[in-house]
Amino acid sequence: MSRIFLMLIRRDLLLARKQGGGSLLSITFFVLVVSLFPLGVGPAPETLERIAAGTIWVAALLSVLLSLDRMFQADLEDGSLDQLALLPLPLSLVVLAKTIAHWLTTGLPLTLAAPLLGLLMQLSPDAYGALIAAMLLGTPILSLIGAIGAALTVGVRRGGVLLTLIVTPLYIPVLIFGVSAAEAAAQGFSYSAHMLFLSAILSGAIVIAPIAAAWALKLALD
């Protein structure tokens, strides 16, 4: 069972590599959006420092949103979703494997790119640790919640907008705790409370999101 699970993650990574697009697109979008801010609000370091963490988080959130709609749709269109649903593995674990692959191809690269953008945005040196730690905990939540939205809208034509409307409100807690962790760190406070909150949300989402998304997918297949 765990062999099939790992194979499924490898499958999605292989497809992401062969089909290209998805991962690179999110990263490019992320970098582009953040780099608009110094141009838009001016290069004054104190202004940029004030909005750095928020900007990076909002841009990361939008990049993840951008990548969500293909999460299950490509598989539905070519009939692979039927085959995935018929694996001798509960559908919720299939969803979890696909979500992990999604995080590895979007959330993780975004997290790795964030420090560079921190430099661009004059992020306070004390805030880097908090930003990266919060993104490591927060971006998997974005993928997990996104999986529910992607599964709910999988059969909907041009479901991307609907998906954004469903998912964005659910991303707000991650955004709040993620940004305030970096701000607390910048002001020299401890940010462990924020980390604990993010960990709690992550633990809940790991359990609930795959089950909820699997139910939604079953409706789409029926």
Binding site: I4, M7, R11, K18, G79, S80, D82, A85, L86, P88
Partner: protein, 220 residues
């Protein structure tokens, strides 16, 4: 025990929205058996196949595998089943061999030779060609070659002859016969005749009250 049906469907009915598609469908499939589903377009052949696979929940009725309700050991049942649907379920960015290997590995088998499987459908020379560059018939053959990639005993084929040429249809007949001689079972929804040894035929007819509904709509 040898004569007991391995797959047994009892009183199956399908509901789509508010419409009853079929009702009271029953069948028994023994080792080496072939069940051909016929019926007019929209009669519910695909629905019945998807229902047997568990993709569609039955409205009434039950499905027994080796005498036990399928739901009791769903994973064991799925490990013994291959569903070849309308859609090919192939990844166009991958080659034929990659698609087949992926299919087998996801089901926990890796000892089958993909090229040999393709050979039995006469397309061994396309083994390393990305599926994107293949014609509909060639994709269909790759999709059917998956049948040879796992030891699953129950094959569910939904319109398997679509897009196939005469040669490929004969090859499919041979593969199906070999599978049945080895004790495998096949359920196929098809209008045309499947070559090879004959099997049972189940015609799906619309339930009587559904016809009445149609009549009433006409009257209105």
């Amino acid at each position: 025990m040898v004569d007991a049906p391995v797959l047994h469907g009892r009183n199956l009915a399908a509901l789509r929205g508010e419409r009853l598609i079929f009702a009271g469908i029953g069948f028994a499939l023994e080792r080496g058996g072939l069940l051909k589903l016929t019926g007019r377009n929209g009669a519910g052949k695909s629905t019945l196949i998807r229902m047997i696979a568990g993709l569609v929940a039955p409205f009434t009725g039950s499905l027994l595998w080796n005498g036990a309700e399928v739901g009791l050991d769903r994973e064991g049942f799925l490990a013994d089943l291959i569903y070849a649907g309308h859609q090919d379920g192939l990844k166009t960015a991958l080659t034929a061999t990659e698609n087949l290997d992926l299919f087998a590995r996801l089901r926990g088998t890796s000892d089958r030779d993909a090229v040999a499987a393709l050979e039995s459908f006469g397309i061994a020379e396309l083994a390393d060609l990305p599926v994107r560059y293949m014609s509909a018939g060639q994709r269909r053959r790759v999709s059917l070659a998956r049948l040879r990639m796992t030891p699953a005993r129950l094959w569910l084929l939904d319109e398997p002859l679509t897009a196939l040429d005469v040669g490929a249809i004969t090859q499919l007949g041979r593969v199906v016969d070999a599978h049945r001689n080895a004790g495998g079972m096949v359920i196929a929804a098809t209008h045309a005749d499947l070559p090879g040894e004959a099997g049972d035929v189940l015609e799906i007819v619309p339930p009587a009250d559904a016809d009445m509904d149609d009549g009433m709509e006409d009257a209105w």
